[in-house]
Amino acid sequence: MTRRVVPLALFLSLLFVLQAFAQVDPGVRGGGAAAGGPLSSVAANNPVTILNFFNDAKDRFQEIDSVSGTVAGEGGFGLGPRYNSRSCVACHAQPATGGSAPAVNPQVGDATADGATNPVPSFITSSGPVREARFPFFFTNNQPDPNRPNGGVEDLYTITGRVDAPTACNSTVLPRPSFTLAVNTGNIIFRIPTPTFGSGLMENIDDATLLTNFNNQQNNNVGVTGTFNHNGNDGTISRFGWKAQNKSLEIFAGEAYNVEMGVSNELFTQERPLPGEDTTTGLASVCRVNPTPEDHTNFNTTSIATLSDTVQFAMFMRFLAPPTPSTTVPGGATSINNGRNLFTSIGCAVCHTASLTTSPSRFTPSLGNATANLFSDLEIHHMGTGLNDNVSQGGAGGDQFRTAPLWGLGQRIFFLHDGRTKDLLVAIEAHDASGSEANSVEFNFDLLSASQQQDVLNFLRSL
């Protein structure tokens, strides 16, 4: 008996020691939110009245929309007929307004808010990430059809049953996508909200700066190549969204308002049918409740209220300051500094470019000639089979994604485009896959000692 107990005790001690030295994601950095405020020149109200614009824009960003603006406590207007959530801040909330998916998923409550009768899809959970769903392919006879690429957003919910929805707009004329079929056939992918802190700086980086960075990057010894996504109309480099498919914050805002909340606006002027409906029947007239565009310039005022929501959403994101990194948490200053150097040395910074300089700005001084510590090259890179989502957007193929900006990473909960993990280590390992440009860099990370890896993790969580 004793002979058995001793080895067991030794084994448990060894296990404890190994665990003590094993690298772990420190988790979401505590303390107050290190983001969410305005740029310093905006806070200083330079130019005069800009702070009023920011504050008004933030209010609108946080406003809950109802179908026709008739629900008490819900100041917004134009929800649906299909939607993923009911306000911008519902999804862009962590660690502050403008961020990414929060700890408690508001989409569970959105399903039945104000009398709506939506079932909650299996992939939406209270503790999971906010998600939008896309079907890579259309279905033919209930089978995913690779000859019919789709990739559009399939809204989770409809307004059917809501107290402010017409009774004629029922599930017969406004069907929901079959998420069960999509899940059972693997014909579904997810996207989570991208944080918007510092996005005005990203918007104001000139193409020439990005191209120079691209050329410098080609001299790497880690197998990274990369390219850019482009705006189809003028050919310039696009940069917002998981595949860098959107050119500007205003387009980003207008599309999200239309796709995620169902609000037609001056950039996306019609109520949005589902993919497939758009080429056949369009939306049923009984579900097109409001005159369009539902969000528009308001001509009956000379105040800030003149601006449309879409313009103000873009203004809010544009004027949000970038996250403030911690110099000491987690792990202490030495570990964080070491992690930063390791991050560069092993090649992460080839794609996750530490900083880029913005152009002069006519909006506000903080946006001009500024150093944007975004940790992204804003290029799209092949990430291989592990992260591939079989959705093409602009010039990006199924496995190509924009280098995710890492500023603010320390206070994010969910990682990767679909929010599949809360663990930074898992996110790093997901870079290693067949067809990925990051295989060599990821293996360099594997070659580090456990304490070095911990330094890298501490550095990332300090951002």
């Binding site: 080609q218 010894n221 496995d399 067809g435 070095q452």
Partner: protein, 322 residues
């Protein structure tokens, strides 16, 4: 690649997982999309025929990496393997030919990797026309995080001239030993990485057994597809502006006909239009020492943002000592 394509083509006929669940749906088995296949691709490589070797066509078979295009054959270190394929070639002509690493059967005490890359010098966005210049540029632009171990120098490996450059990261404790040479107007780099310099020295010593000889390769010449050399030409019509650079390599046979078109990176419709057009082009036969020889050259279609460095017609095969 072929295996994946085949998987993609047959996925609808395999893996029955459930029954259709929609009201009124036919009662047929549902098929699940494969999870490890990229079905929706962006810009990808293609070729006018399957018999002519292409740079990205290398394979690991029986513990040997072989690449017919470059005439490269390299026996993997014991217990190493190619876990994953690299990405498709880029629109600036950069290739990850293979990345090798220790596998589950590896018995060694220290670990490392060998990354073999190629840069098509017709399309490189970097300065430098030779392997040596390319490595010199790497040294010149090496960031402060790294320390030079051995400055670039000429070495002979596998009876071939290479430029070798060693550097390390003191903070990471990793060493990079890089060997570069030129083959068919490409710079081939062998990038060895490990915390253990002794392992790297052993790997480089073993590299001497590698075969790297493009004996029957066409003569590679930058800028040969110029007006003065072309006797017949139809421009491809690219019907959709995608803003991407489209690097293309062609092989012109001894009679001046285009024998092979390799579109390095393009969307499928672009590749078809270019291939169909360029295959009809006719050139003056190129004479070397009075004899007509096959010529390989590059043409850049689409966006011109990746400006080729080698714009003058140069006989790089001669310069690299072939």
């Amino acid at each position: 690649m072929l295996r994946r394509t085949a998987q993609a083509l047959v996925f609808l006929s395999i893996l029955p997982i459930a029954r259709a669940q929609e009201a009124g749906a036919p009662d047929v088995p549902l098929r699940k999309l494969p999870t490890d296949v990229i079905l929706v691709k962006g810009a990808v490589p293609s070729a006018s025929d399957t018999s002519t070797p292409i740079p990205e066509g290398g394979v690991v078979r029986k513990d040997v990496y072989s690449n017919d295009y470059f005439g490269l054959s390299y026996a993997l270190p014991a217990g190493w393997f190619e876990k994953y394929k690299g990405p498709p070639p880029s629109d600036s002509g950069a290739y990850v030919l293979t990345m090798l690493r220790p596998g589950p059967t590896y018995k060694g005490a220290s670990r490392g990797t060998l990354l073999i890359t190629a840069q098509d010098m017709f399309f490189t966005p970097l300065p430098g026309q030779t392997a040596k210049e390319s490595i010199e540029f790497t040294k010149k632009t090496l960031q402060a995080d790294y320390k030079v171990e051995h400055a670039p120098s000429e070495v002979t490996v596998a009876n071939r001239s290479f430029t070798r450059f060693d550097y390390n990261s003191p903070v990471a404790g990793l060493h990079w030993y890089v060997l570069a040479t030129e083959v068919r107007c490409h710079t081939i780099r062998f990038v060895f990485t490990s915390p253990d310099p002794a392992l790297l020295d052993t790997l480089i010593r073993d590299l001497d057994a590698m075969k790297l000889a493009e004996a029957d390769a066409p003569l590679c010449m930058a800028g040969y597809a110029e007006k003065a050399n072309i006797t017949y030409k139809v421009d491809p019509i690219l019907t959709e502006q995608k803003f991407n650079a489209i690097p293309v390599r062609i092989i012109i046979d001894k009679s001046g006909k285009v024998r092979h078109v390799h579109v390095i990176s393009a969307f499928p419709a672009q590749a078809k239009a270019i291939t169909d057009a360029v295959m009809t082009w006719r050139f003056k036969p190129y004479l070397r020492d009075g004899h007509a020889v096959e010529v390989e050259t590059g043409i850049l279609f689409g966006a011109q943002r990746a400006k080729p460095v080698m714009t003058a017609a140069t006989d790089n095969a001669k310069r690299s000592g072939d």
